[in-house]
Symmetry: C3
Subunit: 207 residues, 3 copies
């Protein structure tokens, strides 16, 4: 199984050194679209169960990718936020489709449009997370559960995942495509580029 | 953005003076079907985010239309009910499709078939409402949040809404069509007209 | 209306006396596939509302069939578990499709892959159950509610159910077909048969 562990806060601001001019930005926009599309499709098409263990803040892609994982355990201290509109971005990792399916449009839009931050407990109540585990024993708990899951018949696990996922695969691939096209349009517009640059500048200043 | 505020209780009973004879009823049934179809399609096809602030009881259409809005804030005192079967009506505003998607068939049917009343907190837990706000500061809170949302890049807001909604638009339009046809059939049947007239008579007597 | 009452614990282990040899197993595997397909399709295609009252543990098919019912009331002492992978089985009764739709993929997979047990309250919070009722008055409460539902216009009930269900009927029939094919493959493989036999042997030894 693929194992994701977000132990450190990661967000778009990690890429700030790359953004020094509008020329770079154009290049990054195109690069990002291709990288995103492939990255997200890898999750959509992965045949074995994907377990995600969220140990800290999951922001942007770190949160939006979770519904493409199969079981998601979160540390009680973890939190989840997709503040796309704030830095002038549109939803990614199929979150425009998966979030409404999981939590309903009303809650999904609070995250996608208003950038609302969810605690681990809230994310669990809304169905984004399978279960919340205590910080003290998080890693041990996760490892014990993975061991248990791995002890199951692998044919059964693979067949079960295929049954759950295959029905939506084409719809998710199309959603990914539409989201990447929207990102390209937004990143390509002067207004879009300005909001990202302003956001990044603010982050650099804070730093 | 379109802004809905339900400050006063509204329901089918507001139309009681119109219902004085079976001839009127037939006319109203046909009128309602056309008005409903257009009204609901306007919500389905609206391109900017729709914010709903529910300040009091949302009954029937006032509750069923909410999933076609994008962000829904509710006053703690608000409540939600779709007692369709009680007055011999079938679901409207695509609630036959949106309610099961949001809260699962078991909860959706308790509302649609058994007419169960949800408190604001219950509606939020089930995903019908984005967040519950305190009565004392409800309007200020809502206005502050709308201001924040409006400050976002409008291209991004519109693209985000399109990503979330376009995938379901055709299915919702078809659901609206099917629901209007069912309403016409129910309203057109003697049994259906009788239950509505009985319900309305009861309401007039109570009044 | 069809009325389901699970008053006693039922699970695959009830069939242990039948499983005495691998030859029997092969026969049972084929028989089960046919019986399952028909049984599940009967629920998918049933035109009147189906009420389920869950009075005790609902395990395997007893839990997975619930989303094909229309209103589900659970005794506070009831619990819900689909430990398929533990005894080498894949999901049935369309749960590979209905569970993710109702509770999101993260929670669905905890039940379907990890075999997590839900209390009645948890099942209700996740949308699998309409409402949890107190043990002392469970049967009276259920009967009172059914009486109320039955007093509604039957044309309206049938039309309402058709609106909620018809949109998904073909998808559910296909899901049932895919699940039965997967069960046949799993039951037909030596690995699959071994895990079932081991599981059943363990149950017989416990007994």
């Amino acid at each position: 199984s693929l194992f994701l562990q977000a132990s450190e806060k990661t967000s778009a601001s990690d890429f700030t050194p790359l953004v020094t001019s509008k020329i770079n930005m154009q290049f990054i926009s195109q690069l990002f679209t291709v990288v995103f599309r492939t990255f997200v499709n890898t999750f959509i098409q992965f045949k074995k169960p994907i377990i995600a263990a969220v140990n800290g803040p999951a922001i942007g892609l770190g949160a939006s990718i979770l519904p493409l994982c199969d079981v998601i355990w979160a540390n009680e201290k973890a939190w989840f936020q997709t503040p796309y509109t704030i830095f002038g971005q549109t939803p990614d990792a199929c979150s425009s489709v998966t979030f409404p399916l999981i939590m309903g449009v009303a809650s999904a839009n609070e995250m996608l449009l208003s950038g609302r931050k969810l605690t681990a407990q809230e994310a669990c109540a809304k169905g984004l997370v399978s279960q919340v585990l205590w910080p003290g024993t998080f890693t041990q708990e996760v490892m014990a559960r993975i061991k248990e899951l791995v002890s199951c018949n692998s044919v059964v696990l693979r067949e079960s995942k295929a049954l759950v996922r295959n029905i939506n695969r084409a719809a998710l691939e199309q959603a990914n495509e539409r989201e990447c096209e929207a990102l390209k349009r937004v990143w390509g517009s002067p207004q879009g580029m300005d909001s990202i640059l302003k956001y990044l500048q603010k982050k650099i200043d804070e730093f």
